[in-house]
Amino acid sequence: MWKRDESVKPATPPAPAPAAPAAPAVSMPPAASERRHQHMGENVNIGKSVIIKGELSGSEDLTIEGHVEGRIELKENILTIGPNGKIRAEVFAKSVIVLGEVTGNVTASDKVDIRDNGSVDGDITSPRVAIAEGAHFRGSVDMQRGGGKPAAKAPAPAPATAAASAAAAPAQGQKVGA
């Protein structure tokens, strides 16, 4: 049991040795062993000393603690920008969790989650968006849904209800204008 654990990479391995800017394009083909790791909840970690310029794409969950400039595409997987991560890129993923800094547009097919101290400067397109208290966000949010129709409408301002509430609080919300 313990032996098996030792063979598995730690969830947050130590940062790799300082690296020169990586190759312009990095892709991560879904090798069989990687698929096994993904199946076991494993994800790939880009350490904080790593700088990548170019296109980053793959088919397993990815945590970025380093710097990435360009484009990130993980359409079926979860991208986590760690607290030390700094991204200047267009991001496409299934889910995006931001604890670091992102400058660029973020598109997720499932969810974008900006955690406390996370920062996004750019436009977000995702059906679900969570922005924590203390997070920084500057941009627009497009919660796309099929046909753009609302999931739940505001209760219609029924005249009877409005009248009842006005009667309950006569001075509250007194209409003073046309």
Binding site: I114, V129, R138, S140, V141, M143, G148, A154, G173, A178
Partner: protein, 225 residues
């Protein structure tokens, strides 16, 4: 043996009691978190009503980003919402000592094309601006609105409030929670009804509600022509 066991139990009990006694004053001295009160709103429901039949409306929110609000408007309206935190602009200009340049800044602040926005949530940002900055911002927002577009503004009717900004957190279409956070300068003078109407000269007042919370909630609409 039994006695020694008892005394050990007593000893552990004593530690336990001491720990509990030490923990109590700390808990007592911890600041009591006041339960957040929901305040009624009348204008928000009307604002939503104007927008709910539009296909993917575009909203601009001039308040600080509130995650639950983004979700609320997204769910209610299926909209695209852009957050443009005016309070952070004021803070940045105060820190840089360039508050006099705020009117010029507002004139070029918004990058959206004219007539491209269906609804604008101003909340109470105008309370923190002087007359020149207010007028420039109002003109910029009027330009942004589509014909038939709607603008929601809150205006304090009370003078001399502490230097705090307010986050308006939507609970439901008829209730808001007010969450305050520090501001570098207090609200400016309370605007009179006539001042507000003149400021938004290009819009007409659709509804105005005077609330018990000393806030005048106003809805403006841009004419459809």
């Amino acid at each position: 043996m039994a006695e020694s066991a008892r005394s050990l139990t007593d000893l552990f009990g004593l530690f336990g009691n001491r720990r509990a006694a030490e923990a109590r004053p700390a808990a007592a001295s911890a600041p009591a978190t006041e339960p957040e009160v929901s305040h009624p709103t009348k204008a928000l429901q009307k604002f939503l009503g104007w927008l709910e039949n539009r296909e993917r409306p575009v909203l601009v929110d001039l308040g600080p980003v509130v995650g639950s609000n983004v979700n609320f408007f997204g769910e209610q309206l299926g909209c695209r919402i852009r957050v443009e935190d005016i309070a952070s602009d004021i803070e940045a200009h105060l820190k840089a000592g360039t508050i006099d340049e705020l009117p010029a800044f507002f004139a070029r602040r918004f990058t959206q094309p004219p007539g491209s926005v269906d609804g604008i949530l101003c909340w109470d940002v105008f309370d923190y601006l002087d007359k020149a900055a207010s007028q420039t911002l109002a003109a910029a927002l009027t330009t942004l609105l589509k014909p038939d577009g709607v603008l929601l503004g809150f205006f304090s009717t009370a003078e001399g409030r502490p230097p705090l900004y307010t986050k308006y957190v939507v609970v439901d279409p008829m209730h808001l929670k007010y969450r305050t956070y520090p501001a570098s300068r207090p609200r400016q003078r309370a605007l009179l009804n006539g001042d507000i109407i003149r400021m938004f000269g290009g819009l007409r007042v659709s509804d105005s509600f005077l609330m018990k919370s000393h806030i005048r909630e106003m809805l403006f609409r841009k004419s459809s022509t």
